[in-house]
Amino acid sequence: MKRFWALAVLALGLALGQGDKLKACFIYVGPIGDAGWTYAHDLGRKKAEAALPWLETRYVESVPEAQALPVIDRFVREGCQVIFATSFGYMEGVLEGAKKYPNVIFAHATGVKRAPNVATYMADFYQVYYLNGLAAGALSKTGKIGYVAAFPIPEVKRHINAFTLGVRAVNPNAQVLVRWINAWYDPAKAREATEALLAQGADVFAFTEDTPTVIQTAAKKGAYSFGHYTPMLKFAPDHVVSGQIVHWDVIYIDFLKKVKEGVYTAKNLQNVDYFWLLQHKAVEMGADYGVPINPKHVTLLQKAQMTVGGKKVSVYDHILALVKDMSSPKPTFDPFTGPIRDRKGVVRIPAGKKATLEELLTMEWAAAGVVGDWPGEPK
């Protein structure tokens, strides 16, 4: 009988403990093992759970974009208080679900539509692409830099432009040769696009798609490359110079803390939009975590010179100075600071002005130095 009471108390304790927990649930578009987008979100979820003892999480992976609502229904039945939808295509499902369940808090990654109980969030890489562009410009001997890109959408165009601005800041004559593969995930297309760029003389590579194919292919021919999304140094330890790395956990922890503290409710999210950058530590420049530049390439970048404000400086020093500046609470530098003309000569950002968030999110023009097809290019 004693044992029974002990067990009963324990069970009650567990049940109460459970009740205290905030339940956050994640909808993933891909498998968590994709080594890219979904993998990174899941890493963020795990880190948030480890950091917040009062947090309990669940997830469903490989949810087709049209199937968000049934998953939301299920999550709500299971008692989820916060639902993170991690793909752009979940937008309609999320907005519908938010109407249906006005007391549940939703957050939609890369989304552009909000509601009283729907916030949007994004960890953006444009600053990091600019920094990698500086290194690429310094390392290219042929003056041709290859860029394998998924889809011609504003997000990818913004990244190519930022990268190209960086390249041209070091080498004003360099070209960034862009090839669209029209897929987020297609190793064969990424491979052959890289081969095509190698055949055209590109000797440094960057990309926006979800595989390390570009890195492996470029390394075979001795070409440098920059990783994307997750640390990719291990795929070519001698050739990956740096890259873009995401930290979704930073956003997840901040958001969930504010929910727990009652700062965010299901009534006040209409204007809550995270567009987090280096200064928020949501993104990182690096070949690997904590390795901004591959030590094997530091000397090369130290020797390379560029002109900043009329003075000669080493590219390496300039990159580190900008990382420091843009990682500080009040950055003074931004890659999209005018005067910036597009490749047709049209002024896109006037002298002294900085691109607004709206301009960044709707960017269609191509920076000077971009070579290749550019669907949707403004006249």
Partner: protein
């Protein structure tokens, strides 16, 4: 242009291998629609084995897995006389799903010592020639073709229809397994879920376009490889949108092979054989 020809062969190779595997079975009258799943599981098996014991073991594991899966399809499509199309599609889905599930621990890991593509490309070419000889110069080839054209007659002459079909699926599966191994050990030396990305379906289509002839499959696979590469090589230098370019390999291969002669499927293709009916 030289690099374009190299790419034609190196990217054409996995498609050629898988296509030869499907062709072998189809000449015996069995459609194997499981190519995509067989390639995916073989690619995973090859990668896992290569991580444990080197690329040699990896190739063996890939070929072995493919062959076993080919035989597995035979169990349903030949012995149990199930609908070949349904059984094949089920195998494709099963292979893709199972490889994704089993392969989680290999995601995001590079293969330290990849296999050179050139060696496998030569091997694939040799296998195509060998398959041609097998089909038209050997007794087994005669049996295979007769089983594919008129299994009743072959049966009357004492040929084991089921036996020949089982063997064709087994060997064909091995070729598909080699295609999978090529992907994960040489072409893109790593494993990721879904890395076959539709190449298995291209291989199936190529069998028809190649009129069930191994040497024409070589031509078709290389042509596809060439055009696939050229869509990126020429993107931006000719005023055609990239989306239209992406459709080019498929359209042109169909056009070229359609214009290059009549095609006729093996008469008994897709029909389960039952003695005495």
């Amino acid at each position: 242009m030289e690099e374009a020809l190299v790419r034609a062969v190196l990217f054409g190779t996995p498609i050629l291998l898988a296509s030869l595997g499907a062709l072998l079975a189809e000449r015996g009258g069995v459609v194997n629609l499981g190519v995509e799943g067989i390639m995916a599981l073989s690619a995973l098996a090859a990668f896992a084995a290569a991580m444990a014991g080197g690329v040699g073991l990896g190739v063996l594991a890939g070929v072995g897995t493919g062959a076993v899966l080919g035989a597995f399809l035979g169990l349903f499509a030949v012995s149990l006389r199930a609908n070949q199309f349904v059984a094949g599609l089920a195998l494709a889905a099963l292979g893709l799903g199972a490889s994704g599930l089993l392969g989680k621990r290999y995601e995001g890991v590079p293969l330290p010592n990849p296999l050179p593509e050139e060696g496998l490309a030569l091997l694939a070419l040799a296998l195509a020639a060998l398959l041609h000889l097998l089909l038209y110069r050997t007794r087994f080839g005669l049996y295979l073709r007769s089983v594919g054209e008129n299994p009743r007659a072959a049966d009357l002459f004492g040929v084991s229809v089921d036996g020949v079909r089982h063997l064709a699926l087994f060997l064909g599966g091995g070729l598909m397994g080699l295609a999978g191994a090529y992907l994960s050990l040489a072409y893109r030396p790593s494993w990721t879920d879904g890395m076959t990305a539709g190449l298995g379906w291209v291989a199936i289509a190529l069998v028809i376009l190649a009129a069930w002839q191994p040497l024409r499959a070589v031509l078709g696979a290389y042509l596809f490889g060439l055009l696939f590469f050229l869509q990126f090589r020429l993107q931006g230098s000719v005023p055609i949108p990239s989306e239209a370019f992406a459709a080019m390999p498929y359209l042109l291969v169909i056009l070229v092979l359609a214009l290059s002669g009549r095609t006729r499927a093996p008469k008994a293709l897709g029909i389960p054989f039952e003695r005495g009916r």
